[in-house]
C-alpha cells in the first residue's frame, strides 16, 4: 500500500486527486496502532458526511467546521466542498468565538457544543467540481493586534500555494505529522491539504506531546507497510520545549523535514530542534491574509527567501510590500512587518509601529513597549487597548523570575516604579491602568499572544468572581500549572473577615475545578472532596501557582490540586467527579 510520488500539478486541489485514487491506497496512517487506513475508509467517511448534510440543506451552504481529528476534519471538508459548500473555520472553540460566527453559517459541524456529526456507517461519496474562483473557506486571524479578521480563500488561491509547496518540499509519500491546529492557514495547508493533494498519508490523530512524536517515529521504523519516513509540521512552542533526548534509536533518520511557522524560531531553538530531531528545520513566514511569504533554514543563515510566486520589496521606512500569486489580485500590498533586504533575501526587523487611539490621543504602542522594556527587570512588554475599554491600556510584562511580585505591596511598588519610568514621556491618561506580570510569555499554539490569551489575562476585570489568570504551563497529558493572582476587587473578599480579608477555601476549590475544566477538559458532576486542607490563608494581591492533575478512577474523573505561594501551601485536596453525559446533540 505504499504511495508512489505524484508529479507536481498546477491544480493540486481542484483536480481532486482523491476522486481517482485506488481505494486500497493509504489515506492515513494510524500511528497509535501502527495501522494503515485505506482511501476506501476515508471515502466512506466523506460519503457519511454528505449523507448527513444532504438531508439538511441544498448545496451552496456555509458550514462552521471545527474538528480536532485530522482524518475526520479532512473527510468533512472534502464532503462539503464536493457538495458545492464552503467552510468557516473558527480559530478556536471558545463559546464566544463560535457564537460570533453562528449567524454566518447554516450549522456547526464537528466537536463543538451542538456540532453535527456524521453517522458512523460509511456511504458512497458523490463528487462535484471545485470551481477555482469559488470561495473554499474563511479563516480568522489570531487577533493579536485587534479584533480577529475574516479571511476568505478561493480554490485558485489554495491551488497556487499548494503547488508551490509541492515543488519546494515534495512529500514523496511520507507520513505528515502535525503539532499545529488545522483551523489556521498554516496547519490547514501543511498538515491537511498538502498530504491530501500529494497522495501522502495523514497521521491519524493530532500529535500533542514530544513523547507521542518519539513513539510514533519509533513505530514508523518497526511497523510493516509503514510510510517511508515522515515530515513534522510544527511551531515554535513545541520546538522550543523539545527534551534533550527524544527519539528512540530506531527512529533515527525517519524524519525527513521539520516545518515551523507562526512566529520566527530563535537561532538556538532551531539548532536544538535540528539536533534532537535529526532533520532540517524549514521555517515558513507568512500570515492568514497573505499565506506563505518566505522561508528559511537557519543552518544556512538568518535571511528569508521569498516563496516561488511571491515578490517582496521594502519602502523607505523598511515596510514590507508584497505581490503574491497566492492572493486574489496581483497588486502590491503593504504589510505590518519591517524588513532589511539583502543579497540572500531579507531579514525581519519586527512589526512596524502599532498606533492606538487612547482617550482621543494617538499613541505608539510600540514606543510605549520599548520604553517599558528598557527597565532591567522587564524581559518583554506588550501594551494594548483593552477589548471593551478603548480608553484604557493594559500591559503584559514578562519579568525575570526574582522580579515577579508575590504580594500586594510588591505589586504596588512594581507598578509605581514602572509608572515613574514612563512619567517623563507619557501623561497619566496614556499609562497602562491594568498590569499583568507573567513568568513566561502566554501564547497560543501558533506561538502568538492571541485574542484568547489577552481575554484570559484581563477577564477578572469583567468578572469579579474570577482570579487573575497569569499563564498556564501544560506538563504532559492531564497535568498543568496555572499562575494566579487574587484581585483586590474579588467579590468573595467582601465580608470575609473585615480586619484581614482572605479568599474563602470553597472559592479556591471552585477555581481549581473551573481551571481544570478550561485547561484539562475536566467534565462531570461534582461528587465529593477528599483530603482538603487550607494551611495558609490567601490574601488579596497575592500570587500563587495552582497545580492541577486529572486522572480517571472507576467512579469518574478525579482532580488533584495544590495551590502554592511564596509562604507555602494555600490549598490542596482532591475532587471526585461522576462521569458526565457527553453531549452529542444533532
Amino acid at each position: 500500500m505504499s504511495n508512489p510520488a505524484r508529479p507536481p500539478s498546477d491544480a493540486p486541489l481542484t483536480s481532486q486527486p482523491w476522486r481517482h485514487v485506488a481505494p486500497s491506497r493509504m489515506a492515513a496512517w494510524d500511528a497509535d496502532a501502527g495501522r494503515p487506513v485505506a482511501w476506501a475508509e476515508l471515502h466512506g467517511r466523506i460519503g457519511a458526511w454528505q449523507r448527513r448534510l444532504d438531508a439538511l440543506a441544498v448545496p451552496g451552504q456555509r458550514w462552521l467546521l471545527h474538528c480536532r481529528c485530522p482524518r475526520e476534519f479532512a473527510a468533512a471538508l472534502i464532503a462539503l466542498w464536493a457538495r458545492g459548500d464552503s467552510a468557516v473555520l473558527p480559530a478556536d472553540d471558545r463559546p464566544e468565538t463560535l457564537q460570533a460566527l453562528a449567524t454566518e453559517c447554516r450549522a456547526a459541524l464537528g466537536d463543538v457544543a451542538g456540532g453535527l456529526v456524521a453517522a458512523p456507517s460509511p456511504s458512497p461519496p458523490h463528487w462535484g467540481p471545485l470551481e477555482p474562483s469559488r470561495r473554499a473557506l474563511s479563516l480568522y486571524t489570531s487577533g493579536s493586534s485587534g479584533e480577529p479578521q475574516r479571511i476568505d480563500k478561493s480554490f485558485a488561491q489554495l491551488d497556487a500555494e499548494l503547488a508551490a509547496h509541492a515543488r519546494l518540499w515534495p512529500l514523496e509519500g511520507r507520513l505528515v505529522i502535525s503539532q499545529v491546529s488545522h483551523q489556521h492557514i498554516y496547519g490547514l495547508l501543511f498538515g491537511i491539504l498538502r498530504p491530501l493533494c500529494e497522495g501522502a498519508p495523514l497521521a491519524g490523530a493530532a500529535c500533542r506531546t514530544p513523547e507521542t512524536l518519539g513513539a510514533w517515529l519509533g513505530r514508523l521504523a518497526e511497523a510493516p507497510a509503514a510510510p517511508p519516513g515522515a515530515v513534522l509540521v510544527s511551531a515554535p512552542p513545541p520546538l522550543e520545549r523539545l527534551p534533550e533526548t527524544l527519539l528512540p534509536p530506531a527512529a533515527a533518520g525517519r524524519l525527513a523535514r521539520v516545518h515551523s511557522s507562526g512566529a520566527p524560531l530563535s537561532a538556538a531553538a532551531s539548532a536544538h530542534a535540528r539536533r534532537v530531531l535529526g532533520a532540517p528545520v524549514e521555517e515558513v513566514y507568512g500570515s492568514s491574509e497573505t499565506g506563505g511569504i518566505a522561508w528559511r533554514d537557519q543552518q544556512r543563515g538568518e535571511a528569508w527567501t521569498p516563496l516561488p510566486g511571491v515578490e517582496v520589496r521594502a519602502d523607505d521606512a523598511g515596510g514590507l510590500w508584497l505581490r503574491s500569486a497566492y492572493l486574489e489580485t496581483a497588486e502590491w500590498r503593504p504589510q505590518a512587518d519591517r524588513i532589511a533586504p539583502g543579497p540572500q533575501g531579507f531579514r525581519l526587523l519586527g512589526r512596524a509601529d502599532r498606533i492606538a487611539k487612547v482617550g482621543g490621543k494617538r499613541l505608539s504602542l510600540t514606543g510605549l513597549e520599548r520604553r517599558l522594556a528598557r527597565h532591567p527587570d522587564v524581559l518583554r512588554a506588550h501594551a494594548l487597548p483593552l477589548p471593551g475599554r478603548p480608553h484604557r491600556l493594559g500591559a503584559v510584562l514578562q519579568l525575570a523570575a526574582p522580579a515577579l511580585p508575590w504580594c500586594r505591596e510588591a505589586r504596588r511598588a512594581r507598578v509605581a516604579e514602572l509608572r515613574d519610568a514612563l512619567a517623563g514621556a507619557y501623561p497619566a491618561s496614556l499609562m497602562p491602568r491594568h498590569w499583568r506580570f507573567v513568568a513566561t510569555w502566554p501564547t497560543n499554539a501558533q506561538g502568538k499572544l492571541g485574542a484568547a490569551e489577552v481575554a484570559r489575562l484581563f477577564r477578572d476585570l469583567d468578572d469579579p468572581r474570577r482570579p487573575r489568570w497569569l499563564g498556564v504551563e501544560t506538563e504532559g497529558a492531564g497535568r498543568c500549572r496555572v499562575t494566579l493572582e487574587v484581585p483586590e476587587r474579588l467579590s468573595y473578599l467582601a465580608g470575609h473577615f473585615p480586619e484581614q480579608p482572605v479568599v474563602p477555601g470553597v472559592v479556591l476549590v471552585q477555581w481549581a475545578v473551573a481551571l481544570a475544566e478550561e485547561h484539562l477538559g475536566l467534565a462531570g458532576e461534582f461528587r465529593d472532596l477528599a483530603r482538603v486542607r487550607f494551611p495558609q490563608p490567601l490574601l488579596p494581591g497575592e500570587r500563587a501557582t495552582l497545580e492541577l492533575a486529572v486522572d480517571t478512577t472507576a467512579a469518574g474523573p478525579r482532580l488533584a490540586f495544590s495551590l502554592t505561594g511564596r509562604h507555602g501551601c494555600h490549598a490542596r485536596g482532591r475532587v471526585q467527579l461522576a462521569r458526565g453525559e457527553v453531549d452529542h446533540a444533532g
Partner: protein
C-alpha cells in the same frame, strides 16, 4: 476611623475606575486624588463625575473650576456629597 460615607466613596472610586492594587485603606482622605496621590487623570474625572451623578444625583460641570475643587481630595468629595444629597 473612616466614616461610612468615606468608605462608600472610596469603594465607588475603586469600582468606577477599576483600580487594581488599591483598597479603601490605601486612599488617604487628605491626599490629592489626581496627578499625585492616586494618579488619576482627566478620563477618570469624567467617569467619576458620571458615577456621582448616577449614585447621588449630583451634577458637575466637567472640567470646571468647581469640579476641580470638589475632586481635590476624598475629604472634599465627602463634603460635596454630604451637602448635595440632602438637597
Amino acid at each position: 476611623m473612616a466614616t461610612p460615607l468615606e468608605h462608600e466613596l472610596k469603594q465607588l472610586i475603586i469600582e468606577t475606575l477599576e483600580l487594581e492594587d488599591t483598597t479603601p485603606e490605601d486612599i488617604d482622605p487628605d491626599a490629592p486624588l489626581f496627578v499625585e496621590g492616586l494618579g488619576l487623570d482627566s478620563i477618570d474625572a469624567l467617569e467619576l463625575g458620571l458615577a456621582l451623578q448616577k449614585t447621588y444625583g449630583i451634577q458637575l460641570e466637567a472640567e470646571s473650576e468647581e469640579a476641580r475643587r470638589h475632586f481635590a481630595s476624598l475629604r472634599s468629595l465627602v463634603a460635596l456629597v454630604e451637602a448635595r444629597r440632602n438637597d
